[in-house]
């Protein structure tokens, strides 16, 4: 039998779980995991079901199931998706000079811990070409200056199209995306910001943290939005520090939190666990 993941996001109303499980029961599905969240403040309902179909009872595949479920979900007034559980998201990683998050993602993808296909890496610097190509992944050096930014972003979108990219991951990519590109990638691009948002937005957050004398630093993985550092937060990690940490030591201390927050966010997104909900996220894990 094949395994599928159904995700549903719709206005709340009675009988939603019953309707979905009824649909699955008719098809003799075996539910491996069912998580739901009912945001009664917003009147919004979120559901994720991981289930297996038994070939003996017929298995229409993800496309067939989606078609069949459309009539059920039509009443719900929301959106849903049914994907093959083994279907790996096609991911493009962007990076600048700091390579720790890139290396972390590539290694997790290589060992299968992160079930994604990294289909391309784009960087405004050539530094990590060797590492990327050693992993057998195409590397594109797309330099960015104030003047060439529009062309660079166009080139990125071209690559996104060419490689059928489903998720763009900004793994310490130090260029700010234009509003237009940010909007274009809504819900399809995850950034790692090297602070515990909303503290220390903008540039050089570890230096800001040093100036403020905080006793904890952190990192925040969030969806990219046209409002810089204001996108919906997916994952945050923190690290205790003390007075002896200068800005450089804070930078070093923060690296592990960045890797962890970003890889968590990418994993949850690619497993269909993250739902955009206004400026917030619902994560069914």
């Amino acid at each position: 039998g094949s395994a599928y993941v159904l995700t549903l996001d719709c206005p709340e109303r009675p009988g939603l779980v019953h309707a979905v499980t009824g649909f699955l029961l008719e098809r003799h599905a075996d539910i491996l995991e069912l998580k739901q969240f009912d945001d009664f403040r917003a009147g919004r309902f979120f559901l994720r079901v991981h289930f297996v179909l038994d070939a003996a009872h017929g298995d229409p595949g993800a496309a067939g199931l989606s078609e069949e479920f459309a009539s059920v979900a039509g009443d719900f007034g929301g959106t849903f998706e049914i994907r093959d559980a083994d279907d790996r998201r096609r991911v493009l990683i962007m990076v600048s000079k700091f390579g720790h998050a890139l290396n972390d993602l590539l290694f997790r993808a290589r060992t299968g811990e992160l079930a994604v296909d990294v289909v391309a890496v784009v960087s405004n610097h050539p530094d990590h070409q060797g590492l990327v190509e050693w992993h057998g992944i195409p590397f594109f050096h797309v330099p960015v200056t104030r003047e060439t930014k529009p062309q660079a972003e166009e080139r990125l979108l071209e690559l996104v199209g060419q490689y059928d990219v489903e998720l763009v991951v900004l793994a310490r990519y130090m260029q700010i995306l234009s509003d237009g590109l940010a909007r274009e990638l809504t819900g399809r691009a995850i950034n790692i910001h090297h602070s515990f948002l909303p503290s220390f937005k903008g540039a050089k957050p570890y230096h800001q943290a040093y100036e403020r004398g905080v006793k904890t630093v952190g990192a925040t993985a969030h969806y990219v939005s046209s409002d810089l550092d204001e996108g919906p937060i997916i994952s945050q990690q923190v690290q205790e520090v003390d007075h002896a940490y200068g800005p450089e030591e804070l930078v070093a201390a923060g690296r592990d939190t960045e890797c962890k927050a970003l890889s968590n966010a990418v994993r949850w997104h690619c497993e269909g666990r993250v739902f955009l909900h206004g400026n917030r996220t619902v994560i069914l894990r």
Copy 2:
């Protein structure tokens, strides 16, 4: 309308969620939270639903609902319970000389953060009588010596009966319960052990931790079993330490982890979130 919590624990089979949500839909219930876990390794299914009935559609109360649900659950071959969501568990706390966990529980109960009724406190020492009575709770001094242990345990069971106690909490009660009493209280008694089990079972765990030179200490809240320090674990908390901590400093450092692990365990138990599952627990939170 009234709010209820339904908990179900049964062998896994298709259609369980559908059947339960069907039962609720028929009664026009509004589901506030639904959590389930399917242990495919053991073939066991666990469910907790928090729902509200609308008085307009009729509300048979917890007893009435239980009767009605019995016919649905009869097929499942498991056990279930339906309780009023506002129903506070009746808790008896046992304590010896260290009062931090007692004080923590009493204060959380007083402010309503912990929705329980502490109906009595039993101690083999008189030290905490003042604090307990200040909270308006009856205090029973039941000394224990090797000779009087059977009578002391009999007295405890008497109080458990007299006060309709649903949960016994051993908040640093330093006497080992007899096998008989431990069995009698299976699933109804929670202990806090001042180590990160299974490390450092038995007496003086912080001294053991000092000898071993660990860099982290912890506390474990678990159900009492006749096999000492081997009961099903509900909650664990840890605390980083270093070489400068002597045994006394470890004792002090560990106190907060004990309070936190124990109050978490009591809360989850009293909200109907904890299911015994062999020597393990399933916690639907």
Copy 3:
């Protein structure tokens, strides 16, 4: 023999540790703990020594030692203090309606885990009078309205004088101190802010955190300054949360972090471990 704590804060220059240890060696002192921090960015040096004098060699007491050390430290151009290690700071706690941090501090002081003398509690509400008086501590109800604020603050300063208060602890005291009072208490007043500063300054931080959709909340203990929520940070604690936490659940989740951050800050301050260093703190622990 008697134990003392010497703290020193001065411009850095060669030979500071040598000079201090020379002073101690001459007096046959046994050093139990020596911690120092040299902030080379700022050219500032911080030192804390915990030592024991052997009565056989003469013990001039804290006052005598201070006089003797003055000539050594005179050259340093900084400030120092020598206190009896067993000398308990005299603490006044301020509180409003939320009593968890108050209860936590009172219990820790009672058991000796926090080596302070709580000499008085001041509140703008009468709610916690019973608890405070049960601990045998004088309670002062000083209501505050916009009109009576100056008189209320005068009353507070009167009590600070009358009780020889060395540290004022704002344990969820919900009134903003006037600039004048904040300045008056510089370095002598610790506040707990219920957010992870600098995130969510000002009112209702948990509600702000909910709106922003953060995945971690926290609490910050800091010295009071006339610039609200901008005082030097002493301790921060965090707690992971998720989408299911509404504002009320965030409030509840944050309580333990508030208690922990505040009691840490009070302990370190009262042990002479915290040094003000511009808008930052150095903590020698």
Copy 4:
């Protein structure tokens, strides 16, 4: 000027800090960091000083300083070492099939976050040859069977000699070292055990953790000793888990804690911060 690190481990007695700082003062040294620990229970003293010599006043180098300091330390009856602060430890890594800890160490070494020279990698499997050689490091495949174990260990010692190895890191090397080899490498070999020691010694700790139903797993970096999994602990990291984690999920969840605990231990060791102290460690950081 040049920076040096002096480490000293000796019986406690009065005047140790004074003598060391006197030695440094005579040479016009600028102290960047001084940490000491006095274990009064054991009567043992540990010191680490990071200092800079000004060339203008003469700089005899590490060897010269060591010779000069020997006369001071002769009285102390302990051991000391003075190293160039920039001197990178020569590290040999051993690994089997799981490569996450290897990849983590190699990347940290490459970026300079971990200031070591990885001079060789030895594995009983050929799997990671490509990764290692991409980093420009010699890889040695030394298979081990029950029969060939003595020869394999001899080969290892040969490589240790040939490459002037100062530290052997067992980064998930799944062969148990013989007693003889463990003794030979005392204080010069660090292992990562994939459990929170002393819980779950021996094989398959994550499977043991699953059976016991713990709510937290962890990893422990420790010096290798001939008594398996009983060596002095350097660093521990933990990770919260729940009932939904099967053994495989625990394995995955634990990987990050293994990388973090091991890289911390290697860093602190190579910075001269770790002192063996019986079966414990003192870490001056």
